[in-house]
């Protein structure tokens, strides 16, 4: 018993050390350099700044007439909207595809796999959106993000469904559960752990998406957070210090979201396992 404890502590130490070196140093690097002046940041080292220039952050926020605030609003709306729609549509689809295996679900499966494979065609998509008169709207960018993330999300739900025993649904069937109730009150609650995963992964993915908003949601009023990085990347203004400060500002909301859901993922999984 004692030996086991030592192993765990050693594991702790090694794990922490490895995580520190491999995963924390790059972030420390960004943080340190975000607080230096341009010349010092150009040295690209990990040392503490000579002077802590917190004003870099202020400068980033003020750039382009507080462009970053608009950007946060847009990115926030796109992210929330897309994730909500995704949870509803993909959980239902994943559930049916996993449970009902016939020709129709087979075809849908294949189509969705295709979605994983092909990069989206930009101009034809714009063409379709213009025909529908929804180009450049918040609605269309949300729907696009949903469409592009559907394959991955359905896969997650489908994969998770296969670990849920079918007995509960059989019991529900005997009790005379309607097909809608079966999903909303029996199956969906069991999907909580994977839903937490879906939320965090998709939120991060969509929030960090750079190219789709660029093409399908153009215009200064529609700028998203990733676009603000360009303010600090050109030939004439390439400044690592401001760039990294911007990166860190952008990461904060995702970090908060992650810290919230990181715990939820664990809780949800324990609950699910007990019930299962």
């Amino acid at each position: 018993m004692k030996k086991k404890k030592t192993t765990i502590i050693v594991g702790d130490i090694i794990g922490c050390a490895a995580a520190l070196i491999i995963f924390v140093i790059p972030f420390l690097f960004m943080l340190m350099n975000s607080l230096k002046d341009r010349k010092e940041a150009n040295q690209l080292n990990l040392s503490l700044p000579d002077n802590f220039l917190w004003s870099n952050y202020l400068e980033v926020i003020q750039t382009g007439n507080y462009q970053i605030l608009t950007a946060f609003k847009n990115s926030g709306l796109i992210t929330i909207g897309s994730v909500v729609v995704l949870i509803v549509t993909a959980s239902m689809a994943g559930y049916i595809i996993q449970r009902r295996r016939d020709k129709v679900t087979g075809i849908v499966s294949v189509l969705i796999m295709v979605g994983l494979m092909i990069p989206p065609a930009i101009l034809p998509t714009i063409w379709v959106l213009q025909k529908l008169h929804i180009y450049k709207s918040m609605f269309s960018i949300i729907m696009l993000e949903v469409a592009l993330n559907t394959p991955f999300t359905v896969m997650l739900y489908r994969g998770f469904m296969s670990t849920i025993p079918i007995e509960l649904e059989e019991a529900g069937y005997i009790d005379g559960c309607s097909k809608i109730n079966m999903f909303t009150s029996i199956v969906f609650p069991l999907l909580k752990p994977v839903t937490a995963t879906v939320i965090i992964l998709n939120a991060v993915n969509i929030f960090n998406d750079f190219s789709n908003p660029l093409y399908f949601f153009p215009g200064k009023a529609n700028s998203t957070v990733q676009l603000t990085l360009y303010n600090f990347m050109g030939q004439f203004s390439s400044s690592y210090n401001l760039l990294f400060a911007d990166v860190i500002i952008i990461v904060v909301p995702m970090l908060i979201l992650f810290l919230i859901f990181n715990k939820r993922i664990v809780d949800g999984m324990v609950a699910g396992a007990v019930k299962g």
Binding site: A19, V24, L46, Y95, L116, M117, T150, S162, I200, L255
Partner: protein, 285 residues
């Protein structure tokens, strides 16, 4: 129970509708345009000329080779490393919540930012990775400038960034394994390794399949990290199919680049569908 009645196809309608309108239809339209010289305003039918021209692209060979190396190595490394990390993080380790959070961090940052950061860390003269290695007497390595190394450096960064998702999928899978199996095994006197090999490994198959498929296909079509770190260079040394297609698209050769997309689709289909079929047939068996 009547599966057809309970598992109604209506549940599929919302997802498939959105997917069809915003993805399938534009994709089908692009198939037509791959047979034309197209500049958005007008398209001129040119048969298979675009395909011919795409195949004569001089960086195509290196692109195909790089694509395969990239996809196989990134997915292979992610499957193995993420599994080990996931097992480690689902064990009795006390700091697992912290470590799990830390492993997830890279995923919170956009690809562009990661590309810039690692280009700085991997800088041949100023970068801290080379400074660190020089302590051990390792000479200066030009991580992104050396034609033979560049692709592998990017693969390393891709794995660094992508491990988190694979790990999360694994953790979700491992944690949903019924604890009863482990308890029963413990009663039978099984040790940790036995449990790992005979319970965790086989029962985490669904999540492993997801990881394999996702990272393999992701690896084939991925180029954003490559684009952010080397732009396909030096020269064409780190070009992959997707970056070739993207460059053609950026140059305004819409017909040509859609043809490239079609070729990519075919390649992916040849590789991925059998793989998927194989994996899932074992899953249901």
């Amino acid at each position: 129970m009547d599966k057809k009645k309970i598992y109604s196809l209506w549940f599929l309608v919302p997802a498939t509708t959105i997917f069809a309108v915003f993805f399938i239809i534009p994709t089908l339209a692009s198939l037509y345009f791959s047979l034309t010289v197209w500049n958005f305003d007008s398209s001129k039918f040119c048969g298979l000329d675009n395909f011919k021209m795409f195949f004569s692209e001089n960086s195509l060979n290196i692109g195909i080779k790089n694509t395969l190396i990239y996809a196989v190595l990134t997915s292979g490394l992610k499957v193995i490393l993420a599994f080990l990390i996931a097992v480690f993080l689902t064990s009795a380790i006390k700091t697992k919540h912290i470590i799990r959070s830390v492993v997830f961090f890279p995923n919170l940052i956009s690809t562009i930012a990661i590309g810039i950061t690692f280009a700085a860390l991997l800088h041949p003269t100023k970068g801290i990775i080379n400074s660190f290695l020089s302590i051990f007497g390792v000479g200066r390595i030009d991580w992104l400038g050396n034609v033979d190394i560049a692709l592998f450096s990017i693969i390393g960064v891709d794995v660094w960034k992508g491990l988190s998702i694979a790990t999360v999928i694994y953790i979700a899978g491992i944690q949903s394994i019924d604890k009863g199996y482990y308890e029963a095994a413990a009663i039978d006197g099984a040790n940790g390794l036995n449990k790992l090999l005979h319970i965790t490994l086989p029962l985490s198959r669904p999540s492993r399949n997801s990881v394999i498929i996702l990272s393999f296909i992701g690896g084939i079509r991925s180029f954003d990290l490559i684009w952010a770190m080397t732009g396909g260079g030096p020269g064409f040394a780190t070009d992959v199919l997707a970056s070739i297609v993207y460059k053609q698209y950026a140059a305004g050769y819409y017909g040509l680049s859609t043809a490239g997309n079609v070729i990519m689709l075919v390649l992916i289909a040849i590789l991925a569908f059998p793989l998927q079929k194989y994996l899932y047939s074992k899953e249901t068996a």
